[in-house]
Symmetry: none
């Protein structure tokens, strides 16, 4: 018996998920807010928790932190639900300890297969997590899996936006990303931030990883280069 807890403030989504999961023989619990969700989780010890990122009272990211901090729950699988399609904002979710994320609109078949894959992976254990998948640029190593930046052997802590920015640029080394592209991918379609915000993040990034990696192409954008 596999128990799944869904935490979302929209009743329609709860119902929709419950319907589809129960059709697959999962045992479903649900909660309409983070606090209730946490209580149920502690009581039922589900195998997987599906968390909406955007919720009133306590959002998904915060609840995730709580769960990861709880001795009985810390190893529970967590899948985030996010409205954004931009993958780099989802790094934030994974950074905080999520195991997967699913974007709305939710496709039942996708949902189910992702969940099954997660459960399978969990059971197999972390045996295959050994695969070292990092990128190396001179003295800079970028470990996408572990979300870790190492420079000259020293680990560097990047703030969230810095990390997202770096990951975006590094995803296609050499490619020039226009400001607009960066906005869309990192901030999302509907967020509007000022014009100089990117510059500031770029500067902080350069401060931390060194000036030689991120190049400005004036009038066009930025690129990661080595």
């Amino acid at each position: 018996m596999v128990k799944i807890l869904i935490v979302d403030d929209e009743p329609d989504i709860l119902e929709f998920l419950r319907y589809n999961l129960e059709k697959e023989q999962f045992v479903v619990f649900s909660a309409g807010d983070g606090i209730t969700g946490f209580q149920i989780a502690k009581k039922e010890l589900p195998d997987l928790i599906i968390l909406d990122i955007m919720m009133p009272k306590m959002d998904g990211v915060e609840l995730c932190r709580l769960i990861r901090a709880d001795d009985h729950l810390k190893n529970t699988l967590i899948t985030f639900l996010t409205a954004r399609e931009e993958e780099y904002s989802q790094i934030a979710a994974l950074d905080v300890g999520g195991d997967d994320y699913i974007t709305k609109p939710i496709r039942p078949r996708v949902l189910i297969s992702r969940i099954k894959a997660l459960l399978r992976r969990k059971h197999k254990g972390s045996a295959e997590m050994e695969k070292e998948t990092w990128l190396e640029f001179g003295n800079l190593r970028i470990d996408k899996e572990k979300v870790m930046i190492i420079k000259n052997g020293e680990q560097i802590d990047l703030a969230r936006k810095e990390l997202e920015l770096l990951m975006l640029l590094v995803s296609k080394p050499g490619k020039v990303f226009s400001r607009e592209e960066i906005f869309n991918k990192i901030w999302g379609n509907d967020v509007i931030v000022g014009n100089r915000t990117i510059d500031v993040h770029i500067r902080k990034l350069r401060e931390k990883i060194g000036d030689d990696f991120i190049k400005t192409i004036k009038g066009i954008g930025y690129k990661f280069d080595f």
Copy 2:
């Protein structure tokens, strides 16, 4: 040219969408009901169809099914329009094959960026195996995707105008572009710049990529040649 079909029974919304989409250079078709919508879709084969879920005669969900069942239309992108309250109660609609949904009230900026994201995703998806899309002329490689010029393996950074100019010339190698043509394409019809401006940019370009690619046809214009 990107064609978009809007199907909605409310004339106000049709007009509103048309205005905003045409402002973005999309070619817009519209229909006031599902049946007409389907007919237009079959005739025009649009790239994207925006469907109101709630409509008389044939609702959006039903039309979506029809579209997905039609050989010529089955891969067309579909975005649903939903009122906020019905948001997820109609989620079945997405299972039926919608690619996205947008909630009313519609914010133009959000609408546009969502649509562009969808189209981008579609194109990326159909490209599948990362087909390398560059042009090669002797020791010069032009990678439009990465906005990258490589000469003898060395990467060259071009300023914006230089890049635009090169891209224009390269778009039809061998064709002679008159000065007037170049002005119209790069500066636009209403901007007036002096006569020698092009020369200067041409010179800088030649300085960077080498003298052998851009030929002057005195009295007529310039061409990219190899």
